[in-house]
């Protein structure tokens, strides 16, 4: 069962991964966007880690602190999108002292719904939704099969990665990349890459 400290570790792992991949994310964004995804998300996640509540906080309080930091520090499109994701995740597990596997699945499903509502993107639009959707589907399917949380989250991370790969041939229909039309083909969507990092961090930290 993930305790609150596992949620903290998840946030720290995601922040560390964004740090390590900031340049890669920005380079992906230079190709088809406005070259700020890595820089912005790095600024937001660093603020999130600084604002993590002290020990004893519930998972929803931790997730809400991350949401607030992302919304107020990130800017661009990734701030509202990831901020909304963490906000909805927090609301989905409000009041839970620790999370069972079903709570984790509900948390990620709520996060995905929030992203889709905020960004109004559909699967296939070449956005983070293309990695997030298969990841949540894989997580739910794994748990329904009776897999343990670690196994299901690792499957989710692989599904996110495959979903990100699948954005490469797509033509963007949302965000700044959409203006490139056909020229957005043959480039990976940067948000789908950071979403993969998010699920990899979850797979490492949450089953603990």
């Amino acid at each position: 069962m993930p305790e609150a400290h596992a949620v903290t570790t998840f946030v720290e792992r995601f922040a560390a991964a964004v740090d390590a991949h900031a340049q890669e994310l920005t380079e992906l964004d230079s190709a088809i966007g406005d070259a700020d995804h890595g820089i912005n998300l790095q600024r937001g996640m660093r603020a999130a880690v600084e604002r993590l509540p002290a020990g004893g906080a519930t998972p929803d309080a931790i997730l809400r602190a991350v949401a607030n930091a992302l919304i107020s520090k990130t800017g661009g499109a990734s701030g509202p999108l990831y901020g909304t994701a963490f906000l909805r995740a927090s609301q989905a597990v409000a009041g839970c002292g620790s999370l069972d596997a079903g709570d984790v699945a509900r948390m990620f499903r709520a996060a995905l719904d929030g992203i889709r509502e905020r960004g109004k993107a559909e699967p296939g639009d070449k956005t983070m939704v293309d990695a997030f959707t298969p990841a949540v589907d894989a997580l739910e399917a794994g748990l329904a099969r009776g897999d343990d949380l670690g196994t299901a989250l690792r499957a989710a991370a692989r599904a996110a990665s495959a979903g990100s790969d699948a954005t490469i041939p797509l033509v963007a229909r949302k965000g700044r990349a959409s203006y490139l039309g056909e020229r957005s083909r043959e480039h990976r969507d940067p948000g789908s890459r950071s979403t993969t990092l998010l699920f990899e961090a979850a797979a490492e930290a949450l089953p603990a």
Partner: protein, 333 residues
């Protein structure tokens, strides 16, 4: 890169403080969160206009804070949207109890951050309306893009809706007028050179010595085509025709026209361009009811220009001519 800066990361704050130092009678600047707001207290019962966007487009938006125009502006990092905290703080500075109109340029980040701010403010019981500007005819407005980019018409929305608010028009009326202006304006720009984002330090795109980009965005986004450099009248004709046709502008109609510099264009050249804009519109039988020539919505140090056409009727023209007193636009006072 050579720039007149102290520290790259301090540019936005130092420019905001410089603006406030230059115009203490007009504006105040607050660093945390970043807001440029009117020097006076809010007027009770008066709708307030708040805009904002990435920095690097000065004088937009901070230069348009003052009597008859904006009540507050939220500057983001260079070319990055502001965050909802800023819009919330701005609203708190200027709210007169009659609601807030957000003027938002159509970029995904701006739209989402203003949306979130509106949600938060509505939660506090403040009525928030949004006027979205999406006037750049260089990009297609279709289901397959994020819609047109918001550019030059923003200046007209801020001036004309601002005049309505200054006269005491209720919130819904200010919103209606703002949306009417947004619907009647079209723009297209071109660049002779790239801009250089200070934090990056190198040009955003490469443009050959004898090449120009037609339909450039205000962040250096590519436009319709890259062509060989031509004479000014030829370039201007492309810009005017694109907007006039998209607007369905007809003989006998009236426009306010803006020939806008991208930040690095000498005024001498802008006036050359404007002369051709003026002639071209007259040749089409269009009446020029007002004109603005200068740097109003820029792209850092980019050389180039954009042309915005706003079709006006008596209502819009009357509001356009109303007194305004801001750092970048002043008349009638």
């Amino acid at each position: 890169m050579k720039k007149l800066i102290n520290r790259v990361e301090a540019i936005v704050d130092e420019a905001g403080e410089g603006l406030a130092a230059a115009h203490p009678d007009l504006v105040r600047y607050q660093r945390e969160p970043r807001v440029i707001y009117r020097a006076g207290p809010p007027v009770r019962g008066r709708a307030a206009l708040v805009s904002g966007g990435g920095s690097g487009h000065e004088p937009l938006h901070g230069g348009f804070v003052g009597h008859g125009m904006l009540h507050a502006a939220c500057p983001g990092e260079v070319f990055t949207s502001p965050v909802p905290d800023q819009m919330e703080a701005a609203a708190h500075h200027v709210d007169g109890g009659a609601g807030i109109v957000f003027i938002v340029k159509n970029y995904t980040g701006d739209v989402m951050n203003f949306d979130l701010a509106a949600e938060l403010l509505r939660g506090e019981g403040i009525d928030v309306r949004t006027v979205l500007v999406a006037d750049d005819v260089a990009v297609q407005d279709s289901l397959y893009t994020a819609g047109r980019r918001g550019v030059g018409t923003t200046v007209f929305v801020e001036k004309i809706a601002g005049a309505a608010a200054e006269r005491g028009a209720p919130l819904a009326e200010v919103e209606r007028i703002g949306k009417k202006v947004a619907a009647e304006g079209r723009s297209m720009g071109m660049s002779l050179t790239s801009c250089t984002v200070p934090a990056k330090g190198s040009p955003t795109f490469d443009l050959g010595e004898s090449e120009i980009e037609i339909g450039i965005g205000i962040h250096g986004e590519p436009g319709r085509e890259r062509t060989a450099l031509r004479e000014a009248h030829d370039i201007v004709e492309t810009l005017v025709r694109a907007s006039a046709e998209d607007l369905g502008l007809r003989r006998g109609e009236r426009v306010i026209v803006m020939t806008n510099g991208m930040g690095g264009t000498p005024l001498l050249e802008l006036y050359v361009a404007h002369r051709d804009v003026d002639r071209m519109l007259r040749d089409r039988g269009v009446e020029i009811a007002g004109a603005l020539v200068g740097n109003y919505i820029t792209s850092l140090d980019m050389q180039g220009c954009s042309v915005t056409l706003l079709r006006v009727d008596d209502e819009l023209l009357d509001l356009w001519r109303a007194p305004v007193h801001t750092a970048a636009l002043r008349w009638g006072l």
